[in-house]
Symmetry: C2
Subunit: 215 residues, 2 copies
Amino acid sequence: MKVLVVGANGQIGRHLVDFIQDSGKQARAMIRKEEQASYFIDKDAETAVVDLERSVEEIAEAAKGVDAVVFTAGSGPHTGKDKTILVDLDGAIKTMEAAEMAGVKRFVLVSSFDTRRETWLDAPEGFKPYAAAKYYADVWLKSSDLDYTLVHPGGLTNDQGTGKVEAASEVERGKIPREDVARVIINCLEEESTIGKEFQVVSGDQPIEDAVKSV
Amino acid sequence: MKVLVVGANGQIGRHLVDFIQDSGKQARAMIRKEEQASYFIDKDAETAVVDLERSVEEIAEAAKGVDAVVFTAGSGPHTGKDKTILVDLDGAIKTMEAAEMAGVKRFVLVSSFDTRRETWLDAPEGFKPYAAAKYYADVWLKSSDLDYTLVHPGGLTNDQGTGKVEAASEVERGKIPREDVARVIINCLEEESTIGKEFQVVSGDQPIEDAVKSV
């Protein structure tokens, strides 16, 4: 199985590429700059240098020949709101269109914890544009023909992963190490029953493999 | 015919309310603040005080009992990019959902001149988030069940209207007074053949009524 990781140079992305390579699959790391490539080449991952702010066609070129696409790029809630629109919304949707254009059906999107409009309408002002961008990317994915899994992780930390989570359509708000999010993603790729599913995930008591199977 | 004008306190909106009232129709001006109401009350227009950043339900309340909704609110390309997402994208889409919720089929959206991704991907950096927001609002409208007309005006000026335009699916980039855009909108409302149509419009040689009929 070959997997295009969009946002490979982010912290979730780097863990994910590691796990993909360690599991005997093949990662293709989509990165923005040539100088980010060496990290991935050292791990025998393929690389594709494409700026997410470019065209669907350029992203589709990077997606050619893979079996799945994972979108884990994100401007984060603290970058400029211009990047929120261009990366979290338009970048995500262009990647979905690129997957379709390249004939790749399987798509995993890393969203944010709670993108429901009724939640973020009352969120702090600064958070709303980020939540809105994520919301529309989620809506787009769910109305696409892709074999999607939509992952809503809790508050991301750089702590070491524990390998244990709680995952369900709704869980209590909590935190989760980025390493565990990457493990959740690779388990989704291995577990066909997650196709068409959307779930929240935070640190918990269940081994990730079991938690992902149960969503 | 009763028309909800969303963004009534903007310059296009004010002209439009005038034209609606002058033509024997009834305008309902949706405004953000109570203190904006007097202008419209003086013209015998109804008013509805609703912040576009609130819920679909609140907007739907304002749309109850009208025959058409016109969305001409806009943060403009020079406001904060947070407002670009929350007004031009989310505000527009929530208004479409509100129209559907209120059982109003007719919807006129004032977009920007050229929202095609292949155009704005090479636009100046500062313009892209605005164009992206407009693009997704347009896409949403076209895939809705609304009886829509999608108007793409050229560069907006505050010049007095000339009553003459050029309108077609593609016209050469140019300018157009906001007053003429308002006249184009009211002609769309009166001309059922514009349902399901999308056109660019700039100042030109054709009387607005004829130009709108020919799109």
